[in-house]
C-alpha cells in the first residue's frame, strides 16, 4: 500500500519562532518528493509533523486522505529514516530489521525469515547475525532502509540519510535509493540540503527557506524556471545583477544595472520601477563571437581566476573595477589552455537564458561566494 500526503496550510511555531509557515503541498501517491533547503529552514520540522513527532500549530496533515491530528508516531503509516540512522546498537542486524514485526507480535521464525528477505533486497545476505557496529557506513545505511521498509509503511520519510557518507558512496546510494523506491512503489519524502541529491532522485522538489516554501516543481522547473531569488541562488550556481526594472517588452524586462541595461525573462510580471535582480547560470555565459550577432546582454570583462572543476572550467570574470558584480562562466573543458589574464574579453548571454526576479533573500553559498 502507498498513500499520498497532504499538508494543508501547516504552520509550526515554537514560542515566538515560526519554524514553518503556510505549507500547502500535495505529495502524490508513489512520488519521490524532496524538501530542499539550507539547515534551519524548517524542512526537518515539516517532516516531523508528518511522522507524528510534532503536531502543527495550525493546519492539517493528511496521509491517504486521513487527518493525522492526535495520532502518534507509532500509529501512523509512516516510517522515518533518521539522519544518524538510529540503529539499535544492542541488537543484531536482523533484530534491528525485524523490530517493527516484533512490535506487532510476529513469531520469531517469521521475523527471521522476513529479515533475511530484506537483507537480500539490500544486498547484505548472511549479515543478519552481525552487530550493527561491525558494519560499514554504507551497510548501516542500507540496514536502516531495510528496517524502515520492514514496517511496510505507506510513506517513507528520509531525513538527510546520506549526509554522513563520503562522496562516492553518497552518489552510489542515490541510485540505490531511487531504485528501491521504484521497486517498492511507495511514497518517499526526502529531506536534504544537497541540491545534487534532490535534483537526481526526486520527481518533485520543494525549495524551502526560513520556514517558507519558495517553490514546488520538478528539478528541471526549479533549475531552469526559478520563481524566487532564493530558489535561483540556492539551486545550482548563478550570477546575479541587481538593479531597477526600466522597461518591459512582452514577457521580458530590461533591468537598469551599474553595468548598463540587461534584459531577461520576466516570469513574475514585474512592473517598471521595481527593485529586482537578474540571474544567469554560468553555463549560459559565453565569449562573444565577433563573426556573429552580439548577445542581447554583452559586457567587457577581465579574467580574474580560473578554477579547473574537471569536466568544465570555471572562469571568474571581473566586469568592472569596483561594482562588485563578478561573473562566473563555465566553459567545457576541451583540453586547450586559455591565457586571458589581464586581457579584457567580450562576454555575454541571451535574454532567454536570463531571468529577472523580485529582489529577495539569496542563498549564502553558491555562485555569489565562489565568485567573490
Amino acid at each position: 500500500m502507498s498513500a499520498d500526503v497532504q499538508l494543508d496550510n501547516v504552520w509550526i511555531r515554537f514560542g515566538d519562532f515560526v519554524a514553518a509557515r503556510e505549507a500547502n503541498i500535495h505529495i502524490k501517491d508513489g512520488e519521490f518528493f524532496s524538501f530542499l533547503g539550507p539547515s534551519g529552514c524548517g524542512k526537518t520540522t515539516l517532516l516531523r509533523s508528518v511522522s507524528g513527532f510534532l503536531e502543527p500549530s495550525e493546519g492539517r496533515v493528511l496521509i491517504g486522505g486521513k487527518d493525522m491530528k492526535g495520532i502518534g508516531p507509532n500509529k501512523r503509516p509512516t516510517a522515518l529514516i533518521f539522519q544518524n540512522l538510529a540503529l539499535f546498537p544492542l541488537m543484531k542486524v536482523w533484530e534491528n530489521i525485524a523490530f517493527a514485526l516484533e512490535v506487532r507480535g510476529t513469531s520469531k521464525a517469521e521475523r527471521r525469515k522476513k529479515a533475511d528477505e530484506l537483507l537480500e533486497l539490500i544486498a547484505l545476505p548472511d549479515q543478519g547475525d552481525k552487530m550493527v557496529r561491525e558494519l560499514s557506513g554504507g551497510q548501516r545505511q542500507r540496514v536502516a532502509i531495510a528496517r524502515a521498509l520492514a514496517a511496510e509503511p505507506d510513506v517513507l520519510l528520509l531525513d538527510e540519510p546520506l549526509s554522513a557518507l563520503d562522496l562516492k558512496l553518497r552518489q552510489h546510494m542515490r541510485t540505490e535509493l531511487r531504485a528501491i523506491q521504484q521497486r517498492v512503489g511507495i511514497t518517499f519524502i526526502y529531506i536534504t540540503h544537497d541540491q545534487g541529491e534532490a535534483l537526481t532522485m526526486s520527481d518533485r522538489i520543494a525549495v524551502m527557506n526560513a520556514g517558507r516554501i519558495e517553490q514546488v516543481g520538478t528539478g528541471d522547473d526549479i533549475y531552469s524556471q526559478p520563481q524566487s531569488a532564493f530558489a535561483a541562488s540556492f539551486v545550482g550556481e548563478v550570477n546575479r545583477f541587481d538593479g531597477t526594472v526600466a522597461a518591459l517588452q512582452d514577457g521580458f524586462a530590461v533591468l537598469q544595472t551599474p553595468l548598463g541595461p540587461l534584459i531577461g525573462r520576466n516570469p513574475g510580471g514585474l512592473d517598471t520601477g521595481a527593485q529586482a535582480s537578474l540571474f544567469i547560470r554560468p553555463e549560459h555565459v559565453h565569449f562573444a563571437d565577433p563573426t556573429r550577432l552580439p548577445f542581447a546582454n554583452q559586457m567587457l570583462a577581465e579574467l580574474e581566476r580560473r578554477d579547473l572543476e574537471g569536466a568544465f572550467i570555471n572562469l571568474h570574470m571581473r566586469t568592472c573595477s569596483d561594482c562588485k558584480m563578478p561573473v562566473s562562466l563555465h566553459m567545457t573543458n576541451t583540453g586547450q589552455v586559455l591565457s586571458l589574464t589581464g586581457n579584457a574579453a567580450e562576454i555575454g548571454f541571451t535574454a532567454e537564458a536570463a531571468v529577472v526576479l523580485p529582489e529577495g533573500e539569496v542563498a549564502a553559498t553558491g555562485a555569489d561566494e565562489a565568485a567573490v
Binding site: 511522522s51 507509532n74 509512516t78
Partner: protein, 275 residues
Amino acid sequence: MTSSRLLNLYTWAFLAFMFAPLVLLIVSSFNDTSPPSVTPWEGFTGKWYAFFWMSDADLRADPVLRLLDRDRLVGCFQNSLFISSMVVPISLLLGLSGAVVLTRLKSRLNGVLWWVLLSPMLAPGVVLGLSALVFWGRVGVHAGLTTIIIAQVTFIASYALLILMARLQRQPVELEEAALDLGASPFRVFRRITLPFLFPALVSAAIIAFMASMENYNTTMFAKGGACNFATELGAMSRNPNGHPPVINAVGTVIIVLTVAAASLHTFLQRRETR
C-alpha cells in the same frame, strides 16, 4: 622539569596521606594487642577476624573479646543488609523516574526540579536524619528501621539519579524515537531500548547505593530510634572506655577489600560499556 618533580612529590604525599592510615589499620588488625596498634608487634593473630565465628567457649576465654556482644553486632549487621535491600531498589526506582523526567520530558520546571532532587545530597546528613525522625514521628511512624530506610533513600536516590541521568543523556533520543516510529508503544520502547542501554548504569548505581547505605552513619544515627545498624553499632563499640577493640580494624579491612573489589568491578563494567 622542576614543576613536574614538584607535582610528583605532591602526588606521592597525597597518596601517602590517603592510604597510610589504611595500611596501619590493616596491619594492626593482625597484631595480637588491644587497643589496636602496630607497635609493639605482639605477634600475628587472626582472632579479631575469628571473633565472628569462634565457639562461645573460645570467646569467653579471651579477655578482650568476651566483653563484646557478638549477637548484637551480628543482629545489627543483619539490619544493615535488610535496610540496604530495601534502600537499593527504592532508590533505583526513584532515581530512574527522576532521570527519565529530567532527560526526556522537556519542561520549564526541569531546572527547579533538578535542584529539588539533588538538594538531599547537599544537605548535611544530620539534618536529613533529624528531619526524618521528627516528621515521621509526627505522622505516627516510630523511629526504627522504617525511618532509617526513608532517611537513607532521600539522599541515596540522588546518587542513583545522577548516575542514571549521565547515562540517559548519552543515549541519543533518536533511538527511542525510531522505536516509537516503528510502531512500539512507549512502554515497549522503554523496556526494549532504554532499559537494556541503562543496564550497566543500573548495576553501577546499585553498587554505589548499596555501599552508601551500608556505610552511612550520621543520617542513620539520628533516624534510628532504638534500632541499630552495622555502622552505628561499630560506632558504639569504638566508644569503649578501654579503647576500641581490634575487631573493628578487622571489619575495616574486610570493608576495604570489598570496596576495592566493587570499585574494580564498576570500572570493569564501565570499560566494557565504552568498548
